[in-house]
Subunit: 333 residues, 2 copies
């Protein structure tokens, strides 16, 4: 294992300390229980938006804490759910009396622990609502989920719902918006290589030189199937087809197209994949109205990418375009 780390057990805490030093104007990191909180939280008259999950997916979620997106994020150990005490601390830190929305990727541990935290917060008189993302079309059930996994759409949802919260929407409106975004988006990913959890010290699975894994999860859990390494155009087609069929997306749809890198894939390859995605969508009469290209929901050092498509209307587009100021996404400020 070759990584820029000290002790494997300290990776998350030390990386978060680095984030806190770098972005003290935007975030603070509360220790024990560990929570990343917007520097100026709680914001008067604003519904709090929180998320969280295992670490190893950076910049998600901590990199999305700030103005116009998340109010707090709960980082677990690498590829491990955070504990309810973290979500409860996040909820307390961001509640300003109008309630808190939890955005939860569909993994069994995350869902269970956020649910427990919501009950504890409710007992303290804080109103909590929960939306679960499950956009991954690759598999119906997986190693760590009942039902579909929540993946790339979570990034887009956090941006859009965060913008609406910043504009003053109430908890019921935000919950309905988040459910709608989840209903309008689909994702699928692939891996060229495995990834190595620092505590384990070796790749999580074996992917031979000539093979790729389609429908991979963000923890290296198995996908749909393995195929021989293929040209980018063919890989893009294998990712797009199940996404389009599932919603289904239709001729005339306008979408936000998100090409996400898994952490070890350089930008030159992501732009090349974006061109393939653009061609495939144009051929079916689907118009890319907005796009996001880069490493936003990663799997440590895994090489590979995922596509997410979100159907846009004017309202969602306005919320996407609204100003955001976080360590990982910033525009309009």
């Amino acid at each position: 294992m070759k990584k820029l780390i000290n002790a494997p057990d300290d990776v998350v805490a030390e990386a978060l300390a680095g984030m806190a030093l770098a972005h003290a104007d935007l975030i603070r990191v509360q220790p024990d229980p560990l929570v990343i909180v917007r520097a100026d939280a709680p914001i008067a008259n604003k519904v709090g938006i929180i998320s969280g999950g295992g670490s190893g997916h950076e910049p998600m979620h901590g990199g999305f804490v700030g103005r116009g997106m998340l109010d707090a994020a709960c980082p677990g150990h690498i590829f491990t759910s955070p504990v309810p005490d973290q979500m409860l601390a996040a909820t307390r830190a961001v509640d300003a009396g109008r309630g808190v929305l939890q955005i939860v990727k569909n993994y069994t541990g995350d869902v269970m622990n956020f649910e427990m935290a919501a009950e504890l917060a409710a007992a303290e008189g804080i109103e909590v609502a929960t939306v679960i993302t499950n956009d991954d079309v690759a598999v119906e059930n997986s190693t760590w989920t009942a039902g579909r996994r929540g993946v790339g759409l979570t990034v887009l949802l956090e941006k859009i719902v965060g913008a609406a919260a910043e504009a003053g929407a109430d908890l019921a409106t935000l919950t309905a918006l988040a459910q709608r975004v989840n209903a309008e988006g689909r994702s699928m990913g692939m891996a060229l290589t495995s990834c190595t959890v620092p505590n384990v010290g070796r790749p999580g699975f074996d992917l031979p030189e000539g093979e790729i894994e389609l429908g991979i999860g963000i923890h290296g859990e198995p996908g749909r199937y393995r195929v021989a390494l293929a040209p980018a155009a063919e890989i893009a087609a294998m990712l797009v087809a199940p996404i389009l069929e599932d919603l289904p997306f239709q001729r005339g749809d306008q979408v936000l197209a998100f090409v996400n890198g898994m952490g070890g894939t350089p930008l030159i390859e992501l732009y090349l994949m974006y061109r393939e995605l653009h061609k495939l969508l144009a051929a079916r009469g689907i118009h890319i109205r907005r796009q996001l290209i880069g490493n936003y929901i990663t799997s440590l050092d895994m090489a590979g990418c995922s596509f997410t498509l979100l159907r846009l209307d004017d309202h969602l587009t306005q919320l996407w375009d609204a100003p955001v100021l976080t360590p990982a996404l910033r525009w309009g400020h």
Copy 2:
């Protein structure tokens, strides 16, 4: 070789086509000779700022074309200098009568070809000035340079000089500013792994499991020495010491600290390295006034990182903070 590409010879053109599709509001890509140009160039009454070099370092330089940074960039084949025709086309595309500044990383081929283009442009009556970056303290001469290599500081210089150009500075002022930034900054990098040029199909050099290369170049060319893989704190110290000694940076200095990923290193490790850098500088009484953390000048899929320190005064800080709107850097808009 496992990459998200089609034919190795088409990687650069296809990735640039993807960039053009994604960022049509900011840039256009002119074919034959291949140049990335700011969408609204030439800008009346503004000195044009151009740069360029081999591809494989994305987002540098094409990702820095836009408002407040570069007016054009010339992409060569991967790890290969662009040709003079590209720089000449870029110069013509951005000249608005107040001249053009070339920002050139110190590699023999780049320097020679930019020089030839400057002569051709001068013959057409366009005033051209050139600034060469040579911030890499690792080696005095290298595989592809006479003198030191230009590396991470180039990103910071393009931002700062771009801001001054946007504010209306003339060619002589911008040239002096660029020379000053180059004089005030130093860099050093390291690699955990090699990188693979698509046309070659195998790693450019062999770096055994337990070793790292200190002072690596951005094309995988040799650095200062190889050492055993060490904890992040020790690696950070090995990078910082030669940087600080060289300028030299001194107690009381204020700096812009840039932790750059080489393309295959995930963000979690870069933030961890930023914490180490922060500790090392604090111990010497050097204050980090601004920071940049991410993959900005890369070597394809190489894992590793580089540190760049730039001594700041109020003027350079204001120029760094000024609005920028490019595919890879954006704030204040």
